[in-house]
């Protein structure tokens, strides 16, 4: 098969589209940045792509809440097209703001429609960080199971997060249990130094085990990424496209020998290899 084609979706306020497209191209894909207005005018444009990526940024300024407005546009105008795309065995990746958009569009985790009637409700959200502010810092991540296409073969990664609204919150314990059991909570924050950081205090009643700042936002069960039941639709808070070269590592000057690629590169490679 020819190199897969990636649609990198742009919208007002998207700002990681160039480096995300670059990361996919380095991994062997052909990437095209497309404005959401084009896709709204002509949803069939999706047909010519194998991968759709929603990159990071501040779509519509994160106004109201992060990812909500673009998520709604997708929900109202494009949801069926994106679901068809997914059902055709294709991949959807949301990074940071892209994760927020995917989650709020109802594509990543479908809304629950109560059997008793009444409006559908979201299964989970990404809420304001426990610290109450935007933070840029590097975190250690471990994959959980092999459900997600993007993290296949990966055990651990060191990547930056940069967000204000990244605290994963499920609606209730049942949702959380289902995600965990299904291998959908596919990436988790881990202590930077195993064992060492656990002495830091967790807030009372915390629903996660890794203390701040290694869990940078207070995410429930330390969840950094979630995939859908197919494992082909995934959203993650950290930025793999910011660590595809060794010299992007914050401590690369401490290394005796630089590795050939950065930890995040495998995410893009996995996506491309899926089609080869």
């Amino acid at each position: 098969m020819a190199n897969p084609r990636v649609l990198v979706l742009r919208a007002p306020g998207t700002n990681c589209d160039l480096e995300t497209a670059h990361a996919f191209e380095r991994a062997g894909a052909v990437a095209e940045r497309l404005h959401v207005n084009r896709l709204r005018e002509q949803p069939s444009l999706l047909d010519s792509f194998q991968i759709m990526c929603l990159p990071g940024g501040f779509s519509y300024g994160d106004d109201v809440s992060a990812g909500r407005i673009l998520g709604n546009q997708i929900r109202v105008r494009l949801a069926d097209d994106v679901r068809r795309f997914r059902d055709a065995g294709k991949l959807v990746l949301g990074i940071c703001n892209g994760f927020q958009i995917l989650l709020k569009s109802g594509i990543l985790l479908e809304d629950d429609v109560p059997a008793t009637g009444g409006p559908a409700t979201a299964q989970a959200t990404l809420a304001l960080n426990e610290s109450g502010r935007y933070e840029d810092r590097w975190v250690r991540l471990h994959t959980q199971g092999s459900k997600c296409v993007f993290f296949s073969g990966v055990e651990s990664m060191y990547l930056p997060v940069a967000h204000a609204e990244g605290k994963f919150v499920p609606r209730d314990a049942a949702v959380l249990a289902k995600l965990e059991a299904g291998g959908q909570a596919c990436l988790k924050y881990r202590p930077l130094e195993e064992g060492a950081a656990t002495s830091a205090a967790l807030p009372a009643g915390a629903n996660h085990t890794v203390p701040y700042p290694d869990n940078p936002n207070g995410a429930t069960n330390d969840i950094a990424a979630v995939c859908d039941p197919t494992g082909r639709v995934c959203g993650l808070m950290p930025h793999p496209e910011r660590h595809i070269d060794a010299v992007q590592h914050p401590q690369w000057t401490r290394m005796k020998k630089l590795p050939p690629v950065g930890d995040g590169f495998v995410v893009f490679q996995n996506a491309v290899r899926y089609f080869l």
Partner: protein, 1019 residues
């Protein structure tokens, strides 16, 4: 017409972050423990230009757009409904905080269009925050309102229920031509008009305008007078520094025709001539940013601006639009550069100042700092431009005049560095709409702040909308690459008036003011003309490209509007519909300003004695901790982490480095072209404390510091360009202006000696605050002379960059550059409150050779870590390197290279000491009582501390041939910073022979020292 109110409260079990913020900030301001519950809210109006939203509609809007039902619950109703007014138990005191009408409310705008996405329509939206307090005393509530909840300049705080049931719109504007009766005014009346009309022009300038209109035989229109005031403002014309100055210092007298041109610009011109074919400047002091060569494909450009006065009144909005404004400078340079990184440097009063020391009309410095940091954060992060470098300085004199320097570097294709407006081109406004916000910003920046500034000039304060600017950026770069326009500039201070005036200066322009899109009804033609509403760019577009240009903008939902035409008349003509509302000759506008002539004097102050500690055996650990924990030196991690410094994926050396990503980097290395190796290096230098001694040495030291920061990470010193930003006090005072001229002379000397060109700059004068104290006396606070030098360097391969964290135990430590007896203005002196002393000077030829040698050593891979010696001297630098690397250090002061002269008394003492201890080899400084403090803490320029593996020591030393340097210690695995003092002859018993003992002058664990450094601003 109907109004809905939507309140969103955190669900039970979810944190109330809005309330928590209020409680925390109230506590730090000494207002006690405040018990509060908060909700974010929306007011949604419909029914005037749309169908009324019904209950089902608003429920849909809440469910599908506003409320995140996983973490929030909504209360919906009409503002008067009991459900909305029902107080949570124990929290009966209600306060609403809303933006004032007309103030930019980006979230409200987004909600309006998102409601349309749902297939519904509303007319207006306003956001608000609702606070429910446990019962509070009236004065506590008043204090809380003013100090924590709202800022009068942009927000209204309503105690109790909302007093309105509809949102106000502007009313329709009826055209009414206005003329100003200028011809009949006497001098006193002219000055009254200048001040009350917020023109801030001098008498001779007002008289010149009067004479011009006398010749024309008519009074000016209001638009004409405003246009002249904007164009002639200090902000737009730099008339003081670009003007005539008679300067005297000592026996010397210099008459400048144009001070800046003859100092800072002149140095660059001389260098470019000297370099000939090898000149790497492209466009300097001409465009919105300075442009230099980068590689075969791209140039880079760099600009730093200040936004001081707006930030004093509304820190968030001022800093927000400060950064937004400077980003438009590279975007408006040449045919448009892509912004690649931001820098920001702030000066505040100490954030722990007591409330009762804050004069009326002045915001508490902690509030200023929090607001400024948030403002920069929200603009830079949203624009997707990494903020990679900066600094924060503290001094009480910045209380009423905080300084906010924002910088931006851009990348521009080599064939897009120049522009040319052609006649017949349309004048096109792109981006944000014009509103009443920011009227008189340009002239206001020339006025000094007073207690009343807030009420007089509140209109000059505004909030930005970064996403609008990001959308503009995206289409402009696309349009540039398709050659759809001929020239571009930013709409900054002075608004259309300045932008069109500048672009049409050589041609002439006709502007159709009624065509400009406005945010709301009611703007007069003059308001449209001078509004400084944000996120607007002005372009010249040829008629044959217009259609394609407009379609491109529309495809990304960016508004582009033709507002006039460049016509070869040499005149600026403004129309509102059919009516001519201004008609001025470009020649008068740009050439008619009478020269400002100013006196400047400078008396270099005498060097006063400084009472330094004189014990050899002193334990200096507490002093070292005092410096590390001082506000200027301490960790700025709280600030840095809030900035996205990695977006665009080019960050190679980050602002925080080391084994725990928390050590203070000297400079940032950014790789702006994905897939390329070449990098730019961004650093800065500034030390207002030196300015209290001698502005010349302050300027020279700032340049040295900026350069050595750049060199420390690997920049080639032959390719560093710098910017100047002068923030000074009242320059009508000859002494104040004198110190500025003296600093400019240092800039000239240093630029030539170091072969480092200035490529752009900016000044902000009049940073003084006059107020009446509690005692009824008139007081004035003037900022210290504050020259920021920002440097942009280059590195051919980013993988050769070096960071400051120590890497491996067993490696050697070298000090490069000699320590001199320069403790005046040092942080040791500041923290210990020691007056006097010699301020650091720069030996420019030696500095140049030192930077070349260090660069060579770094380039050959002999250096594992490098840190410049600055605030806190050798002791602080070694400590920072140690805790950043998680490794210990042992330093031997006896080996530190120095250039110290013994005074006659010490000389005598040395001889006596040598006689008494003939059998010992004494250190030459053994009889200099303050040598230990000097070697530890002096802030002499052009010095570095380098970590070198033993195997590379010979190669390192070879690179440093001819430069003062010495092996001063080693990296250890002890986890301690140990500094050994000068060996002292001692004897245990009087009759025994003396022997040398080496005292430990610093000994502390890394954790201890790091905690001292991190504690002050760990908010």
């Amino acid at each position: 017409m109907s109004l809905w109110e939507v309140d969103l409260y955190p669900l039970e079990g979810q944190p109330d972050l809005l309330g928590r913020r209020v409680t925390a900030e109230a506590a730090t301001l000494g207002l006690g423990k405040i018990d509060v519950l908060a909700a974010r809210g929306f007011l949604i109006q419909s029914g005037a230009h749309s169908a009324e939203l019904k209950q089902a509609d608003i429920d849909k809007i809440v469910r599908e757009l506003l409320c995140d039902s996983v973490v929030e619950r909504a209360v919906v109703g009409r503002p008067a409904d009991a459900a909305l007014r029902k107080a949570p138990a124990g929290h009966e005191q209600l306060v609403h905080v809303l933006p004032k009408p007309g103030v930019m409310d980006p979230v409200a705008q987004s909600v309006l269009s998102a409601i349309a996405d749902l297939g519904l329509k509303a007319d207006a939206v306003r956001t608000m925050t609702k606070y429910w307090f446990a019962p509070l005393a009236d004065d506590a509530l008043k204090l809380l309102k003013a100090k924590v909840l709202s800022n009068d300049a942009i927000e209204q705080a309503v105690v109790g229920p909302l007093p309105f049931d509809k949102l106000e719109f502007g009313s329709k504007y009826e055209f009414k031509p206005l003329t100003v009766p200028l011809l009949s005014l006497d001098d006193a009346a002219l000055m009254k008009l200048s001040k009350e009309g917020q023109l801030y022009l001098s008498l001779v300038e007002m008289q010149t305008i009067q004479n011009q209109f006398r010749e024309l035989g008519r009074d000016p229109t209001d638009a004409e007078l405003e246009t002249v005031a904007q164009t002639w403002s200090e902000h737009c014309s730099h008339k003081t520094l670009g003007g005539r100055i008679r300067y005297r210092d000592g026996d010397r007298e210099i008459s400048f025709k144009s001070m800046l041109k003859e100092t800072i610009f002149a140095a660059t011109q001389e260098l470019r001539k000297r370099w000939g074919d090898k000149d790497w400047c492209v466009s300097v002091f001409k465009d919105n940013a300075g442009v230099i060569k980068f590689d075969d494909q791209y140039h880079v450009c760099f600009k730093v601006e200040t936004h001081n006065h707006p930030s004093a009144l509304e820190p968030y909005g001022g800093a927000n639009t400060g950064l937004g404004g400077v980003i438009r400078d590279p975007l408006g340079t040449g045919m448009g550069a892509k912004p690649i990184c931001n820098t920001d440097v702030f000066c505040f009063a100490p954030p722990d100042m007591a409330n009762d020391k804050i004069p009326q009309g002045v915001l508490h410095p902690q509030r200023v700092m929090r607001g400024v940091v948030s403002g920069v954060r929200d603009y830079g992060n949203r624009m997707g431009i990494p903020t990679v470098n900066g600094a924060v300085f503290f001094d009480e004199r910045y209380l009423a005049n905080p300084l906010v320097y924002c910088g931006n570097a851009g990348l521009i294709p080599v064939d897009k560095a120049f522009k040319q407006t052609l006649h017949g081109d349309y004048i096109v406004s792109v981006g944000g709409r014009t509103g009443r916000d920011g009227i008189h910003g340009a002239t206001f920046s020339s006025a000094e702040l007073t207690t009343e500034s807030e009420s007089v000039s509140g209109g000059a304060v505004q909030i930005g909308n970064a996403i609008t600017e990001k959308m503009v950026l995206d289409v402009i770069l696309a349009a540039r690459d398709r050659n759809l326009f001929t020239a571009i500039t930013d709409c900054g201070a002075g608004g259309f008036s300045s932008a069109v005036g500048e672009m049409g200066e050589e041609i002439g322009a006709e502007v159709w003011l009624d065509k400009a899109p406005v945010k709301y009804d009611g703007l007069s033609y003059t308001e449209i003309w001078i509004s400084e509403a944000q996120e607007r760019m002005v372009l010249s577009v040829s008629p044959e490209k217009w259609e394609e240009f407009e379609a491109l903008c529309a495809s990304e939902s960016v508004e582009a509007t033709i507002i006039g035409k460049f016509v070869p008349t040499g005149r600026l003509k403004l129309l509102y519909g059919e009516n001519v509302v201004a008609d001025l000759s470009m020649e008068f506008l740009h050439g008619g300003r009478p020269p400002v002539v100013r006196e400047a004097v400078y008396d270099p102050p005498a060097v006063l004695p400084q009472p330094l500690p004189t014990k050899y055996t002193w334990d200096y650990t507490p002093e070292l901790k005092g410096i590390l924990g001082s506000l200027n030196v301490c960790s700025k991690e709280w600030v840095i982490r809030q900035y996205d410094h990695e977006v665009q994926a080019g960050s190679i050396v980050k602002p925080l480095v080391g084994v725990k990503n928390d050590g203070p980097s000297d400079a940032a290395v950014v790789r702006p072209v994905l897939g390329s190796k070449r990098g730019i290096v961004i650093s800065n230098g500034m030390n207002p404390h030196f300015g209290d001694f001698d502005a010349y040495h302050m300027a020279a030291s700032a340049i040295d510091e900026a350069l050595r920061n750049c060199v420390a990470v690997g920049a080639d010193p032959a390719r560093i360009a710098i910017l100047d930003n002068f923030c000074w006090g009242d320059c009508e005072q000859p002494e104040t202006l004198g110190s500025l001229v003296r600093a400019a002379l240092a800039c000239y000397d240093m630029a030539l000696a170091m072969e480092t060109p200035f490529i752009s700059g900016k000044d902000s004068l009049n940073n003084v605050f006059r107020f009446q104290g509690a005692d009824g006396k008139r007081n004035t606070i003037s900022i210290p002379p504050s020259l920021l030098i920002s440097a942009i360097g280059q590195i051919d391969d980013v993988a050769k960059a070096v960071t400051m964290d120590l890497k491996e135990a067993g490696n050697l430590l070298y000090q490069v550059g000699a320590t001199r007896h320069e403790m005046g203005g040092s942080h040791f002196a500041v923290v210990q409150k020691l007056p006097g002393g010699q301020v650091p000077q720069v030996d420019a030829p030696l500095a140049k050779r030192t930077f070349q040698a260090v660069h060579k050593a770094l380039g050959t891979g002999t250096v594992r870590a490098c840190h410049d010696l600055s605030e806190g001297g050798l002791a602080a630098a070694a400590t920072e390197m140690a805790f950043a690397g998680g490794l210990g250090v042992r330093i031997h002061l006896a080996q530190v290279p120095y250039s110290l002269m013994l005074n006659p008394r010490s000389q005598e003492a040395a001889e006596r000491l040598a006689r008494d201890h003939e059998h010992l080899e004494l250190h030459p400084l053994s009889a200099m009582p303050d040598a230990t403090a000097v070697l530890l803490f002096a802030e002499s320029n052009s010095r570095f501390l380098c970590e070198v593996p033993q195997a590379k020591a010979a190669a390192f030393e070879k690179a440093l041939t001819g430069i003062p340097h010495a092996l001063v210690g080693e990296v250890t695995d002890t986890g301690r910073v140990e500094i050994l003092g000068l060996p002292q002859p001692t004897r245990d018993m009087p009759e025994e022979p003396s022997e040398l003992r080496v005292p430990k002058v610093v000994d502390a664990s890394l954790e201890d020292l790091k905690a001292a450094w991190q504690q002050p601003l760990r908010w």
